[in-house]
Amino acid sequence: MKLNISLIICSLTLSFLISSCKKGDEINPVNPLEGLLKLKEGYVIGASAKIEVWGEKNFFTGFNNLTVVLYDSLNLKEKITDAHIEFEPVMTMVSGAMVMKHSTPVENPDQVSVNDVFPGAIAFVMPTAMGGSWKLSVHVHNHKIDKEGEAEFEIIVDNPATPVLSVFTSQSPDSSKLVLSLVKPTAPKVGMNDIEFTLHRKLSMMEWPADNTYSIEIIPEMPSMGHGSPNNINPVNTGNGHYKGKVNFTMTGEWRINIAVKKGDAVISKNASFNITL
C-alpha cells in the first residue's frame, strides 16, 4: 500500500510538471499561407500595391482556391487589409485568323481581409494549350489610399491528370452551359469526407455567374470492385453556387463520384462523374 501511495504521488508530481511545461507554450497565430505556394507576384500599377497570388499548386483546370496578399509598394512590409479585388482571367484562343476571348467563373475576395490576406477562387474551364493562352488580370482598389489599378500576369493553366471540373450543356429545359467544379475533398481519406461542388452558368463569353438553382445528387462507386458506399449525404446549396454534402470511402483506391445535376426533378447533366483516388 505504501508503494501504491508513493507511486500515486510520484505520478501526480510528474503530471503536474509536464502540464506546467505545457503552459509555457503559446498558441501560434494562424499563418494563412501555410502549405501554399507563391504562384505570381508583381506590382499593381496605380494602386501603390505589390500583389502576391498564392495557391495550393500551380493554376489548373478546375476550382483553384487562390489567396491574394497585398503589400504597400513603398515599404513592401505593411500589408494592405482593406481593398476591393477582382479577378479577370481571360483566355485568348487563336485559330487561323479567328481570335476568340473568353473568361471563366471567379469568386472575388471579400473587401475585408481574413488574417490579413484575401481568399478567393477561380474555376478555370480549360488548360493552357496550343493556340490558347491565359492571362490573369487582378483589379485592385486600395481603400487605404483610395487608388486603383491592375496587375497582369501571363499564367499557365495545367491540365490535371484526373479532371475535377466539367463543362456541360444542360439537357433541358434551357440548354444553358454549366460549369461543375469539385471543390472538396482536396485530401480525401478513408471514412467520411466533406464533398463540395460549385455550379456556374455561362451567361456570355465574359460572364460566368454562380448558380444556386439546381440540386446535386451523388453516387460514389468503386469501378473495379463494382460497389459503392453507404450513408452518403447529397450536397445542398449553401449560396454563391456552392453545394455541400458528405461522401464516404470504405477503402483506399480509385473511386468515382457519379453526379446527377437536377433542375427540379429533371436530371440535366449527362453521365457526369469525377474520379478520386485515395
Binding site: G191, G226, F249, G253
Partner: protein
C-alpha cells in the same frame, strides 16, 4: 489431415479417457507417451479409444471428444465447435494461456497450431462452467502441454516415427526426445507433415486440399526440491501452402510462436504463477486461385480482370496468471485466480486490380480488423464444499474487465462511413457465476447438476470487422462497435456410472442465450464484391436456445477386449424458432478393440444422421446421412535396445462418398485411405 490416420500403436501411444478425476471436467488424456517423455503409463484399465498415432492431427482427436464437432473449411485447421458454440463463444487455451488466431475468417483456430505430440491432455468444460479462463458462454477447451518427468528411471528416451498416407501422398515425420536428470528434465518434439491434394470416394482429386507444416515444442523443467518447480515451454508452428477448398483463398503461411514460464509451489496451499507471450502471423493467399472477379466481371464485360488480394493478419498476446488453491478447512477448498492479458490484433486487406494491357490500378487498402489492443483483467473464485461422503457442492464466479483501445484513427475513419463516432477506448465489465452439485446416488452412480450464468465479450471481428466475406452464406460481414455482450443461462445434468468393467457418461445441457450475436442482413449498405450477396451486420438477436445430449460408454468385458460408444446430439434455434445455422446432426461412433500381446486390432464405426433442420438464409443446405468404417492394426517388435512399432490402417474402408454437415462447401471427405507407419523407440 484426412481422417484416416486415427491409428494406434497401443504401446506407443497409450492415450486414455479418464472420466473424471475432476469434479466437472471431462478430461481426456491423449498420450501418456513413454516415447516422447518419461511419463509412466497409467490407467491401463481405461482403454483408449481416442487413440491416435502421432501423425493424425489434433482435429482427428477433437472429432471424437465429448460434445465437440468440427467446422471444416479445408483438410487442415478445423474449427472446434462445442455443443453448437464456436469462435468467440469458447475459451480455447493452452495450459491456461490465452492465444487468439490472426485470421478474420477463422481459418486458424488455436488448435491448428498445436499437434497431438505437444499435448498431455485436453480438458473440456461445458457451457458457462468453462469460465475459469475467462467469462464465456459456450465452454472451454484447455490443452495441457506435454512435459517430461524429472528423475526418471530411464534418463534418455527417443523415438522416431515415419508414416505414409495413400489418399494424399502424405508424408509424416515425427521425433521426440526426453532427458531426465535428478533435478531437471528436458523434452523436445517435432512434427513435419506434407500432404498433397486428397481424393474423395469417387477418386476425384479435391483441389486446394494440400498442406505442409512443421511443429516444434521444447519444454524444460527444473525442480530444486519437492515444493518448488519451474517450467519453460517454447512452441513454434509454421504451416505453408495450406489449401482451403471451401473458401476463395488459401493460406500462404500461418506461423505461431509461444513461450510460457511457470512457477509452482506445492504445499498446504498450492500456488502457481505463469507468464506467457505468443504471436501469430497469418497470410491468406489467392495467387493460385482464379479470381472470382475474373469470372464475374469477365461474364458481364467480356474483359478479363486480374485481381489479387493480400490479407495478412497478426495477433500477439502477452499475459499472466496467478492461482492459489487452499483447503481453508476440512470441508472446503478454495481456488483463487487472478489473470490479465493484452492482445493486439490487426488484419489488413490490400486488393490489387490490373486489367490486361493497362497499368495497375491504385491499391485498395482496408483494415478488416483495425489495429486494436484488448486488455482483460479477471478474478476467478471457486469454492468446493465436501458436504458429506455423497454430496459435493461447488460455486465459482468470475469478473472480467475488458478494455478495447484502438491503436490508430483508421478504425474511426472506416466506421465513420456507417455514421459511427467511435471512441478510442471502450470498457466493459463481464460476470459469470456457476453452482453445481455432485451427488452419489448409489454405488458407482453419481449425478452432477450444474447451473450458471455468464456473459461474453464480442470478438474484435464482431465489434469492428470491416467487410469480412463469409464464404458460407455469401455475405460481407460488418461489425457493430456497440454490440451488447452475449449472455447465457446454462443448465446441465450428467449421470456417471463408474465401474471397473463399464463406465457410462450421459449428459444433457441447455443454454438459454440472450443477445445472441449473429449477422443480420442490412439492405441499406451496398455489397462490397461482385460475388457478395449483400451485407450482414453482426447484431444481438433477443434469444437463442441450444440443447445437447452426449453419451459415452466404455466397456471392458475382459482384459483383451473393449468397446467404446460415443453419441452426440445438438439442437439449436433462434427466437423466431428458426434453426440455428451450423448445428451438427446426431453422430454416433462405436469402436471395438482387441489387444493381446504385441497385436492390436480395432474396428470403428462412424455414422451421422441426415441434417434436415437447416437455415437456408445462412447458406445451409440439407446434408445426407453417412456411415463409414475404419480399421486399424498395430504390431510391436522388440530388439535388444530398440523397439519397433508397425501400424497399418484403413479409413473409410468402403470408400464412401460423404461429407459432414459442418463441412463448408459440401466438399467430399477423403475416400479410402491406407496408411502405414513405422516407429522406432530407443
Amino acid at each position: 489431415m484426412l481422417i484416416l490416420g486415427v491409428w494406434l500403436f497401443p504401446i506407443l501411444c497409450q492415450s486414455q479417457v479418464s472420466h473424471n478425476t475432476d469434479l466437472l471436467n471431462d478430461t481426456i488424456h491423449l498420450n501418456e507417451v513413454e516415447v516422447s517423455t518419461s511419463l509412466p503409463l497409467s490407467n491401463n484399465d481405461v482403454m483408449d479409444f481416442y487413440r491416435t498415432n502421432h501423425f493424425s492431427t489434433l482435429d482427428n482427436i477433437n472429432a471424437r471428444l465429448d460434445g465437440m464437432s468440427l467446422v471444416k473449411r479445408g483438410s487442415y485447421a478445423l474449427e472446434p465447435q462445442l455443443q453448437g458454440f464456436s469462435g468467440g463463444q469458447l475459451n480455447i487455451t493452452i495450459d491456461g494461456m490465452k492465444m487468439f488466431g490472426a485470421c478474420t475468417d477463422r481459418m486458424d483456430p488455436i488448435t491448428s497450431y498445436i499437434e497431438p505430440s505437444n499435448l498431455k491432455k485436453i480438458t473440456i468444460d461445458h457451457g458457462t462452467t468453462g469460465c475459469e479462463t475467462g467469462c464465456n458462454i459456450g465452454g472451454s477447451v484447455d490443452m495441457t502441454l506435454e512435459e517430461p518427468e524429472i528423475n526418471s528411471s530411464k534418463p534418455l528416451i527417443s523415438s522416431v516415427e515415419m508414416g505414409y498416407e495413400s489418399i494424399s501422398n502424405g508424408q509424416n515425420f515425427l521425433f521426440s526426445s526426453g532427458y531426465s536428470a535428478k533435478k531437471w528434465a528436458w523434452g523436445i518434439d517435432g512434427v513435419y507433415r506434407n500432404n498433397a491434394n486428397y481424393r474423395d470416394g469417387t477418386n476425384q482429386v479435391i483441389p486446394f486440399s494440400q498442406f505442409r507444416k512443421t511443429n516444434l515444442h521444447s519444454v524444460f523443467k527444473y525442480q530444486p526440491n519437492n515444493r518448488n518447480s519451474f517450467k519453460m515451454d517454447m512452441l513454434y508452428d509454421v504451416a505453408r501452402n495450406v489449401g482451403y477448398p471451401a473458401l476463395t483463398m488459401d493460406v500462404g503461411v500461418a506461423r505461431a510462436a509461444l513461450i510460457g514460464l511457470e512457477y509452482q509451489r506445492a504445499g498446504e496451499a498450492n500456488f502457481k504463477v505463469k507468464v506467457y507471450l505468443n504471436t501469430i502471423y497469418h497470410v491468406m493467399d489467392d495467387s493460385k486461385r482464379d479470381s472470382l472477379y475474373e469470372l464475374k466481371a469477365g461474364g458481364s464485360t467480356g474483359k478479363t480482370v486480374y485481381m489479387r488480394m493480400d490479407m495478412p493478419g497478426q495477433s500477439t498476446t502477452l499475459g499472466s496468471y496467478a492461482q492459489l488453491q487452499h483447503f481453508w478447512n476440512k470441508r472446503n477448498r478454495l481456488t483463487i485466480k487472478g489473470d490479465n492479458y493484452t492482445n493486439k490484433s490487426l488484419a489488413e486487406m490490400t486488393m490489387h486490380m490490373r486489367y490486361p494491357g493497362l497499368p495497375p490500378e491504385p491499391e485498395m487498402y482496408m483494415q478488416t480488423w483495425p489495429e486494436m489492443i484488448r486488455n482483460v483483467s479477471g478474478l476467478y473464485l471457486q469454492n468446493t464444499t465436501f458436504v458429506s461422503q455423497k454430496l459435493t457442492l461447488t460455486v465459482d464466479g468470475r469478473v472480467d474487465y475488458n478494455i478495447d483501445i484502438l491503436q490508430s484513427e483508421y478504425a474511426q475513419q472506416q466506421f465513420s462511413v456507417f455514421n459511427y463516432n467511435l471512441p478510442k477506448k471502450q470498457g466493459k465489465l463481464l460476470k459469470s457465476l456457476n453452482l453445481s452439485a455432485q451427488y452419489l446416488l448409489v454405488n458407482d452412480l453419481s449425478v452432477v447438476a450444474s447451473t450458471g450464468y455468464s456473459e461474453r465479450m464480442p470478438t474484435i471481428g464482431e465489434r469492428l470487422g470491416f467487410y469480412l466475406f463469409n464464404a458460407y452464406d455469401g455475405y460481407d460481414y460488418i461489425g457493430n462497435p456497440y454490440l451488447k455482450v452475449e449472455k447465457s443461462n446454462f443448465f446441465r445434468v450428467a449421470f456417471r456410472l463408474s465401474k471397473t468393467a463399464i463406465k457410462v457418461n450421459l449428459s444433457q445441457s441447455v443454454s438459454l442465450v440472450h443477445d445472441y450475436i449473429m449477422g443480420i442482413t442490412d439492405h441499406q449498405i451496398p455489397a462490397m464484391n461482385f460475388y457478395a450477396k449483400g451485407i450482414r451486420v453482426t447484431s444481438n438477436i433477443p434469444k437463442a436456445r441450444l440443447y445437447s445430449t452426449d453419451l459415452q460408454i466404455l466397456f471392458n468385458p475382459n482384459t483383451n477386449l473393449s468397446l467404446f460408444i460415443l453419441s452426440k446430439f445438438t439442437y439449436g434455434e433462434v427466437s423466431s424458432a428458426n434453426p440455428l445455422p451450423l448445428i451438427p446432426p446426431i453422430k454416433n461412433i462405436a469402436a471395438v478393440q482387441y489387444q493381446k500381446n504385441r497385436l492390436l486390432l480395432q474396428a470403428e464405426y462412424e455414422s451421422s444422421m441426415a441434417q434436415g433442420r437447416i437455415n437456408s438464409d445462412y447458406g445451409e443446405q440439407k446434408t445426407p446421412a453417412y456411415t463409414i468404417f475404419n480399421l486399424k492394426s498395430g504390431y510391436s517388435l522388440s530388439f535388444s535396445r530398440t523397439r519397433a512399432e508397425i501400424g497399418v490402417s484403413i479409413s473409410n474402408l468402403l470408400n464412401r462418398i460423404y461429407y459432414e454437415h459442418l463441412d463448408w462447401g459440401r466438399i467430399n471427405r477423403p475416400g479410402r485411405n491406407i496408411s502405414v507407419s513405422l516407429t522406432l523407440l530407443f
